[in-house]
Symmetry: C2
Subunit: 148 residues, 2 copies
């Protein structure tokens, strides 16, 4: 298990890869974001926007899966207070292979709760053509290593 | 269809209601955010955190469904550049009924693309006990009304 002390500023955490399918784009959007350009491939507006694209919230969900697999799944995380400056920089489309990284920007102990620190990371996602598709700053409460 | 001109600063857009089920919490998290407190009800960490809670990205997806149903689905939206200051303020749990509102904070024409404006909205979500669960600032490109 990785605790707060196991992270260091400027640490780079590389992500694996996530292949986005048209079925998944439509399935996610039909449930949570049924705008034309996420669900209707044949619509003129979709064509005007270059084809079907994933919901931005689908892209953030894909980020989370990559992050859990890369490091959050084995870290002593206690939820997150939020994210800042989330930017969708380019469309995510069917067949795209998404990867990315998190870089630790700040790590500070909580002033009010001595059992945890706050980890701030800069996140970037890109596709198989190295086009950046998402950027944001995330915050997470991570438990400090328990005293023996 | 609602165009950029149909929105005004300080306009309040009320959302409907979305009931969150335990099945949906686990299903979403198993796919995108398989951290213990989102998928394993019986784990001691989950108990320590007050029980199973929805992934924060599940909550943003629920926001999007409420927003599409309330106004985005009939607005001439051309995607979003991002969101700012996304805050998860309280856990979303099984059985919660989520509602909320968007308030238009800024509306300005694009300097570079005359066919669209940028709409900035302050979003709040709350549960059935009026506890605020999410707050953020969203941006959307919305088409101006076509010339006759």
């Amino acid at each position: 298990m990785d605790y707060f002390e196991d992270f260091s500023v400027n640490q780079r955490i590389p992500f694996g890869h996530y292949t986005v399918t048209q079925t998944e784009i439509i399935e996610f959007a039909a449930r949570f974001d049924p705008q034309i350009f996420h669900i209707d491939e044949g619509h003129p507006l979709t064509a005007e926007l270059g084809g079907l694209m994933a919901s931005g919230w689908h892209t953030t969900a894909i980020f989370m899966r990559l992050a859990v697999d890369a490091y959050l799944g084995r870290a002593a995380v206690l939820t997150s207070p939020g994210v800042d400056e989330l930017k969708w920089l380019a469309p995510v489309r069917a067949g795209d292979v998404i990867s990315g990284e998190a870089i630790v920007e700040h790590a500070r102990l909580s002033a009010s709760k001595p059992d945890r620190g706050i980890l701030t990371t800069g996140v970037r996602l890109w596709n198989q053509r190295d086009i950046e598709v998402l950027r944001m700053t995330t915050h997470a409460f991570v438990r400090v290593r328990p005293q023996r």
